[in-house]
């Protein structure tokens, strides 16, 4: 019986043929094919890169949010690492930037971070992906978007490669084309398998190369890029800072010009409020020393020592009681007793103490009769006290029986009374009256605004002139240095020698200048470049105008600040603030004025060519010259001039030195003849030595010619004769227009002034009574030690040697880094030719013609 159920729709099976005997590959064109992959490869184009960048950032933000919420998936968690790297980098850069005041260094911290991140991304693209693509025919850095919308690298994991995304929509994504580029024949079995195997292998090899080299390459690439970017950052920063600074100067000029001279127009400020708070607790009372010190400390904060002294002196006067009294308090009685005891010696100590040391109650009763407890005791009251004490002591002297000599006791008593009086008078009473408070607060208001303005003006000055990183002068100095070395064609090997010794620096400078001077075209280009640097400096300092000048505005603003403050103080308290006023301006407030009115005059001041008032003689001249001397205002303004002179004249000196060599090449035959004599050669050499290496001391010592004033005169007249080469004239331009600031006239005036000042130094030669020029023996601005120092400037040898040290260090480092970077790049490039070798190529089978036997039976 059948237990096998009937299934009428089932077809019976056919007789078996062993499956091992099946033949003929089965074609599948008509069968279901797999769907295209849900993700897609990323195609970087100019339009898509920003789009993906924005998307990536949005994804990272979401990853952070989900991470904190505990909902992040693996991919998001992985991205958090990148986010952390970037945020952490910004944090570190911000911290390091806050640790330095150098503006360029601050910017470079962030530039460095950005460059590092860029290097991490760019190094594999440039050194590995691009060569790999060129050699092997596909991009190993390809990325894809998966079915979840997440961006991933195709070849990051060699066991997880979405090959089916290579659909052939682009040539780079066609496996057959990639196979052709790899040199894989078309007529082999399972060609795609081999292509994928090769792609996987090459990607793995390159990823390994990347891992091995990135640790060296990324920092080197970062550093090299930063070095290059520094050349962009510096001028950009300079431009921005200078523009901002100039705007600040203009605003400060306007502000200080509008400053009222009346105290009542001065608004409350933080300083005045602070002072008012400090003092209001002591109205009508003795101001303790600690509080007074606090007030002084607050008022003198961020003010130079000169003005601080003035403030201290004025405050001391201000707080002193109007009655001229002396400090009196609860402890005065005890202080008197202590004074008495300290004045009693060892001899007859007991008897003397018994006689002269009153009880506290006795003393207080005396004091109560004498004073009115207002916190002070006047001189008259002290006198009364002395009398009272005499009466008291007399009573006790009469009662004292152990010492019979009453005169002795009376003498001791007088001595004690005098010491009491002296001690009391040592402490003037600082009773703080309402008036004193008001005056102090007004003082604080005026000083407060002065300090606010000073702070800004100081910053403006610093940005232009100070010996700080990235000031206009410092940047110009650096540019001049670089340009000089370029035009002199100073090479790396020269730097190595120059930095080691001054002799080597001198020798190389001489050689280079001689070579340059011989070629008119090269020399012309050289001086053009150098004068261009100076011209840029002048424009950055002053602006490009025939008449206006930022420096003029700055000086005027500084002077306005001082002048108006002095006038306000003068109006505020009569003579109460005279010390401060003196320290501020050292001048009668009625005579206060601005020293610079035009750009032309400013240049004259800077070049020390302003005409002196020759009408004044003797003491009048001295008084005129002494105006403002020793004041903080004078210091502030002079600082600008001196810094400018120091740098400008250093540049002038180098130009003059170079020109001297050029002039020697363009002498007339007669001049050459004169120069070629032994004496002539000596003058030339000594002159060149002086130009290259003589400092202020050596000039003061007449360049070592103290026993030969004629030689000295000839040197000065030859070298500093005011002649300028034709090329220099053309470079500087003959126009008198001051808008570029670097006229030929100023250069010639420098040369002439040099001769005038340094040549006419009133130093004795070995010959007695020998002076070289100059009648006026009084102090002059133009011939102070400082002005001479600035006129001489930095010696070219010193200039070159220090520059060589800096450049050598930078270039050495750059060379090493370039070698490392180049080596890594070379290794990376060369490696490509060793990657992707097909092993066991004998295993590659050609396609065999199949029996077209469709097994669909």
């Amino acid at each position: 019986m059948a237990i096998n159920p009937v299934q009428p729709n089932i077809d019976s099976k056919k007789p078996n043929v062993t499956y091992r005997d099946a033949q003929g590959a089965i074609k599948t064109q008509s069968y279901i094919k797999p769907l295209p992959a849900e993700g897609h490869l990323v195609h970087d184009t100019l339009t898509s890169i920003p789009k993906y960048w924005v998307k990536d950032i949005a994804y990272d933000i979401k990853a952070v949010k989900d991470g904190f919420g505990g909902n992040a998936n693996d991919h998001q968690t992985g991205r958090l690492n990148d986010v952390g790297l970037k945020l952490g980098g910004i944090g570190i850069a911000a911290y390091l930037a806050s640790r330095t005041t150098d503006p360029k260094a601050r910017v470079m911290e962030y530039v460095g971070l950005g460059t590092f991140l860029a290097a991490m991304s760019l190094y594999p693209k440039i050194a590995i992906n691009t060569p790999s693509r060129a050699v092997h025919g596909f991009d190993i850095g390809k990325e894809y978007i998966d079915d979840q919308g997440r961006k991933k690298s195709v070849f990051q994991d060699s066991n997880y490669i979405p090959f089916d995304m290579y659909r052939g929509e682009y040539l780079d994504e066609d496996l057959d084309v990639i196979g052709d580029r790899m040199g894989i024949p078309r007529d082999i079995q399972n060609r795609h398998d081999l292509i994928k195997e090769q792609m996987r292998k090459i990607a793995t090899q390159n990823n390994t190369l990347w891992m091995l080299t990135a640790g060296f390459a990324t920092p080197v690439l970062t550093a090299l890029t930063c070095c290059g970017l520094e050349k962009l950052v510096s001028p950009t920063l300079e431009l921005v800072r200078n523009a901002g600074n100039n705007s600040k100067i203009s605003k400060m000029l306007a502000k200080t010009t509008e400053m009222s001279e009346q105290v009542s127009d001065v608004a409350e400020n933080k300083l005045s409020k602070k002072i008012e708070t400090l003092l209001s607790n002591f109205k009508g009372k003795e101001l303790p020393k600690e509080e007074m010190d606090k007030v002084i400390a607050v008022l003198t904060e961020n003010v130079d020592e000169n003005i601080s002294r003035g403030i201290r002196d004025d405050l001391a006067k201000l707080f002193r009681s109007g009655n001229g009294g002396f400090a009196y308090s609860e402890s005065t009685a005890q202080d008197i007793i202590s004074t008495i005891k300290s004045n009693i010696g060892c001899r007859n100590k007991t008897a003397l103490e018994r006689t002269f040391v009153p009880t506290e109650s006795e003393l207080k009763s005396v004091l109560n009769r004498v004073t009115n407890h207002s916190g002070e005791i006047t001189s008259d009251e002290i006198q009364t006290l002395k009398n009272e004490l005499r009466t008291l002591f007399e009573e006790k002297i009469n009662k004292e029986t152990s010492i019979s000599n009453k005169d002795y006791l009376r003498g001791e008593g007088e001595r004690i009374i005098d010491s009491i009086s002296l001690n009391l008078k040592k402490k003037p009473a600082n009773i703080l009256s309402e008036q004193a408070i008001k005056e102090t607060v007004d003082f604080a208001k005026i000083l407060g605004e002065f300090k606010q303005n000073s702070k800004i003006l100081k910053k403006c000055k610093s940005t232009k002139f100070e010996a700080t990183q990235e000031s206009v002068l410092a940047r110009s100095y650096e540019k001049f240095e670089n340009t000089l070395f370029d035009v002199l064609d100073i090479k790396y090997k020269d730097l190595k020698l120059m930095r080691e010794s001054e002799d080597a620096a001198k020798k190389i400078l001489e050689e280079k200048m001689e070579v340059l001077a011989k070629d008119s075209t090269k020399y012309s280009k050289a001086v053009n470049k150098l004068t261009k640097v100076i011209e840029e400096m002048e424009i950055k300092l002053h602006g490009k105008s025939e008449d206006a000048s930022h420096i003029k505005d700055l000086i005027t603003a500084i002077e306005n600040n001082y002048n108006k403050t002095a006038k306000r103080l003068n109006n505020a308290g009569g003579g109460k603030f005279s010390n401060t006023i003196h320290r501020l301006v050292s001048q009668d407030v009625s005579e206060l004025a601005n020293s610079v009115d035009t750009r032309e005059n400013l240049f004259k001041i800077l070049d020390v060519t302003m005409e002196q008032n020759t009408n004044l003689k003797g003491i009048d001249y001295v008084k005129e010259q002494a105006k403002g001397v020793g004041s903080s205002k004078r210091y502030d303004v002079t600082r600008i001039i001196e810094r400018y002179q120091g740098v400008k004249d250093s540049f002038n000196r180098i130009l003059h030195t170079m020109d001297n060599y050029r002039i020697a090449e363009t002498l007339t035959d007669e001049q050459k003849f004169m120069r070629n004599t032994e004496y002539g050669k000596k003058i030339t050499q000594l002159g060149r030595d002086a130009l290259l290496g003589a400092d202020t001391s050596q000039h003061t010592a007449k360049l070592g010619t103290v026993n030969n004033p004629e030689l000295y005169k000839d040197i000065m007249n030859t070298v500093w004769d005011g002649n300028v080469s034709q090329e220099m004239k053309e470079a500087m331009g003959t126009t008198e227009n001051l808008s570029n600031g670097n006229t030929l006239a100023r250069f010639q005036s420098y040369i002439n002034r040099f001769k005038q000042v340094m040549g006419n130094n009133d130093i004795d030669f070995n010959k007695p009574n020998h002076k070289v020029g100059g009648e006026n023996k009084f102090t002059q601005d133009s011939v102070t030690r400082m002005s001479k120092f600035n006129l001489v400037g930095q010696t070219p040898i010193d200039f070159a040697k220090k520059a060589a040290e800096r450049r050598y260090g930078n270039q050495t480092w750059l060379r090493k880094a370039s070698v490392i970077g180049g080596s890594i790049l070379g290794i990376a490039l060369l490696s490509q030719f060793f990657f992707g070798k097909i092993t066991n190529s004998h295993n590659i089978k050609k396609v065999q013609k199949q029996v077209s036997d469709d097994a669909n039976k």
Binding site: M1, N4, P5, S12, R20, A25, T28, Y31, D853, A855
Partner: protein, 584 residues
């Protein structure tokens, strides 16, 4: 009278077609009447030589495979069993079966004894894990992995069957015993799907290199992590997409053998191991022989690339396009989903996918498969019950269970990792994946200490079978419901609606704590009576219906199913109503 020995008759074979004359027919008729009388007399004697057979019963038993339609209509309820452990007798309680001590492993014939139990539970489809002889070399465990077959088909075209599954005391051949088991299943209207392994054992790899995949340098292709098996090579030339004829022929003969045995379908292990063209051709072929032959593909989720070396990426949609009727899906990571939204999104994703495919594609309720850790690990008995309720009520789903689930088996075998003297492979270590159904050794019958799960399972399946129009019908919608005050989104709630009937499901995903919330149900009335359609379990949950909303206080892992009176709910929740593709 010669009593013919009862032989299985292959009506399909033309050899058995016999023509007779009218006289011969009359003679045959007379003879059979006499025989019948003789047999009846014998039956009256207390020691019958033969058993009386109810011919009418046989005449009425007409089995027709409709597994494919069942799957397409979400009506299949599957249980995965391992024949060699299904009815194993572990006498000493050491979790392993030691044959030499008299313990017995399961066989096809002994398996019949549990069919009524499964039927009573509501199971109507069996997924038989592989039954082939296992490889010995590099084997996992002492019995060898079920998925490491030494042979698929015999030279005569029969299925290669593990001798361990054969009752030696029964004279029938292996195929006959297997067939007998299948027939018993069919009698109980239980379909049978056989598991088709994806790879070969090392033994088969060495014996049949023409079937196998090799690297270009001659190295074998071992799927990463599965050292005891080797990959087949489906391609003769992958570039031109030409299939390996030998491998295909082997699978074709496999399908023939399955259909001949009466099997109703195949579950393809690691379906992605072979390309779409392979399956398309094979499945299409199978339907020419049996249009209702069902195909379940082991496939989980879309992969851009395969994370497993030497294995293809998983693309469920491609496999469904190639002919599979249903696939596994990702319900097995339900315990990892953080909230109800992930669950709902997954359901919707599949409903959406159905519209890109021919109508009728589905999933199984793969909350637990033999490759997953026991559900008991993820939340205990109540978690098992929760998943049972869910898979009984979600759309586009054929419920699926693994033997042992119904009593809360932890699958934590005492012998794991120990050495055993009795071994049938070259390995004497009893490898086993912890908390997973044993497939490497002769182990005890699956079962645990939580029989209450079976009560709930029965109740859920019964409920489902009584409400197929709402819960299984492709026309039935899945309606997402909005909730309030469920901050951690742990309340799983949705409605199923068809033909004016609405079934509401409310469940607490969290197995560790209670959750409260308010479910917005447009059309719900304050006086709505809530009668739980599935068996109660766990702690008490509370429900308070209001106008258009239901306030709930759910016990950990608790799940409820209510029929509610909201005939317009689809309209009221427009934009949140999802349906499976109904027709092409």
């Amino acid at each position: 009278m010669q009593i013919s020995k009862i032989q299985p008759i292959n009506f399909k074979s033309s050899n058995y077609q016999v023509s007779v004359s009218k006289d011969e027919q009359k003679t045959v008729k007379n003879n059979s009447e006499l025989s019948a009388k003789y047999l009846d007399n014998l039956a009256m004697i207390n020691t019958p030589a033969v058993k009386k057979v109810d011919k009418n019963a046989n005449k009425n038993f007409q089995y027709k495979n409709n597994l494919r339609s069942m799957i397409q209509n979400n009506e299949s309820v599957m249980m995965a069993i391992v024949p060699r452990t299904f009815t194993a007798e572990d006498l000493n309680g050491d979790d392993k079966i030691t044959l030499c001590t008299g313990e017995k492993n399961g066989t096809f014939l002994s398996a019949i004894s549990r069919l009524d139990e499964l039927k009573a539970d509501g199971i109507n489809t069996l997924h038989i894990l592989p039954i082939h002889p296992t490889g010995k070399k590099n084997a996992m465990g002492t019995a060898g992995s079920l998925y490491s077959p030494a042979k698929f088909v015999e030279d005569n075209g029969d299925l290669a069957i593990d001798p361990m599954l054969i009752d030696k005391n029964d004279p029938r051949s292996a195929n006959e015993q297997f067939r007998a088991f299948i027939d018993e299943c069919h009698k109980r209207d239980i379909k049978v799907m056989l598991d088709l392994p994806s790879c070969a054992s090392v033994d088969l790899f060495e014996a049949e290199p023409e079937l196998m995949a090799f690297g270009r340098n001659g190295e074998d292709k071992t799927p990463q992590g599965w050292a005891d098996i080797r990959m087949f090579e489906p391609w003769a030339d992958e570039t031109h997409r030409e299939l390996n004829p030998k491998l295909y022929e082997m699978h074709k003969q496999y399908v023939d053998a399955c259909i001949d045995l009466g099997l109703d379908g195949i579950r393809a292990d690691v379906a992605r191991a072979k390309p779409t063209e392979f399956w398309d051709k094979l499945i299409t072929y199978s339907h020419t022989k049996d249009p209702e032959f069902g195909w379940l593909g082991e496939s989980y989720t879309y992969e851009c690339a395969s994370p497993q070396v030497n294995m293809m990426y998983d693309r469920p949609e491609d496999l469904l396009r190639a002919g599979f009727d249903d696939y596994y899906g990702q319900y097995h990571i339900f315990h990892d989903w953080k909230n109800a939204k992930e669950f709902n999104d997954y359901v919707k994703m599949n409903l959406d996918m159905s519209h890109r495919l021919p109508a009728g594609k589905s999933l199984i309720g793969s909350f637990l498969t033999h490759d997953d850790s026991s559900s008991m690990i993820h939340g205990g008995e109540n978690f098992c019950k929760l998943t049972t309720v869910l898979q009984s009520t979600i759309p586009m789903c054929n419920p699926y269970f693994v033997d042992g689930f119904q009593s809360g088996d932890y699958y934590d075998y005492k012998y794991r990792g120990t050495k055993n003297e009795e071994t049938f492979t070259n390995n004497d270590v009893m490898d086993e994946h912890r908390y997973r159904l044993a497939i490497f050794n002769l182990s005890r019958k699956p079962g645990g200490d939580h029989p209450d799960i079976e009560r709930v399972l029965k109740g859920c399946l019964k409920m489902r079978s009584e409400n197929l129009d709402v819960l299984a019908d492709r026309n039935s919608s899945f309606i997402e419901l909005h909730k309030r005050e469920d901050k951690k989104d742990q309340i799983i709630t949705y409605a199923r609606h068809n033909n004016g009937r609405t079934i509401l499901v409310v469940a607490n995903k969290n197995p560790n704590r209670r959750v409260t919330g308010i479910i917005e149900i447009p059309g719900l009335k304050k006086n709505q009576k809530l009668v739980n359609m599935v068996p109660e379990y766990g702690e008490k949950s509370e429900f308070q219906p209001y106008q258009n909303e239901l306030r709930v206080n759910l016990a950990p892992a608790d799940a409820y199913v209510f029929e509610i009176d909201t005939p317009n709910i689809e309209k009221d929740r427009k934009g949140h109503v999802f349906k499976q593709k109904v027709t092409d």
